[in-house]
Amino acid sequence: MRRAILLLMMAAGLALVVWSGWQNLRQRRSAMQAQQQGRIDLMPGMSSAAAGDPSAGQSQLRGQPAPAFNLLDLNGKTVSLSNFKGRPLLINFWGTYCAPCKIEMPWLEEFSKTYAPDGFQVIGITYDSEVGRDIIAKDVHKLGVTYPILLSTPKAENDYLSGTEALPMSFYIDKTGKVIEVTAGLGSKDELESMVKETIASGGQ
């Protein structure tokens, strides 16, 4: 009898170990998922493999009308989205601390000139506008950028970035005012140009 009880206890003990191991495995899996989610929070909408991938960008605005804005440029003049009505646009959020932004900005400058006959316009919006116009203007000059550079506001960031802090972020807007693509992070020059062409072609003649 005692032997049976002892064996039963042993069996119960082993069952406990197996159950404990299973629970441990489940916790490890959920913890790994939690960690993965933590990483995603840091790199919203993208992974290292998805750099510059259109599908990696914030998608809430894709297919939606571009949010209106009234922002100051480096000369203190107010510039509105409505100033560019009927034109294909690329709205590019950048920061003075952002190295990949500064890699692509000369490319955007080149596209703004190449595709100007198509009405294409690039608009830069400076995320860290608090650094001041002088520093921003100095950076812009060094980069050879001549397209409009505007100063961001919390409203513009809320409307376009939805809390995302990753830069660069680009919004491709067709001539009907619809956001047709959103990209996060630096992509290749060819990919960018391809999306510029798509933007120009979108929305009919």
Binding site: R2, R3, L6, M10, G13, L14, L16, V17, S20, G21, N24, Q27, R28, S30, A31, A34, Q35, Q37, G38, R39, D41, L42, M43, M46, S48, A51, G52, G95, T96, Y97, C98, A99, P100, C101, K102, I103, Y127, D128, D139, K142, E165, A166, L167, P168, A184, G185, L186, G187, S188, K189
Partner: protein
Amino acid sequence: MKATWLNRTRHTFAPIVSLVFILATTSHLGCAQLGMDASAKPRATVLYAAEPQTVPAARRAVLELRFQIVPGFHINSHTPNSQLLIPTTLALQPAEGVKAGELVYPAGVPYSFPFDPADKLDVYAGDFIIRLPIVATAGDHAIDGTLKYQACDNASCYPPKTLPVRIVFTAK
């Protein structure tokens, strides 16, 4: 007879019981460590590995301040290769009984973003150590400071952040 049977049973099952105990213990420890990891989502890109240190009193000594950068990210070194980039800097507050020297930052490593391999930046990735020469009076000391850094991954950059740092050490 019963005693013999029990002895034999103990002998037979002792390894199993030990195994049960070891498995249960390691399983529990595993959960505890994992619990720490799971709760510590990498919200910050740089972590300070605060380790109490002991140095000789009233003599020149060097404190090692260890930082860890979350995998997949890098930060500009103290001397990035561009004036346009924000360098990593540690600002320390004065502490009573501690005469602090000039911080010694580690050298960075070259880094290029994809699509622009020609542009070499100077960054920290993984772990890095900032050294602080000090002369301190005997006793326990704490120096408060702030690490300012700006992080990027391989395609995007994030706004500059500050990390509060408390350096705790004993001079004796």
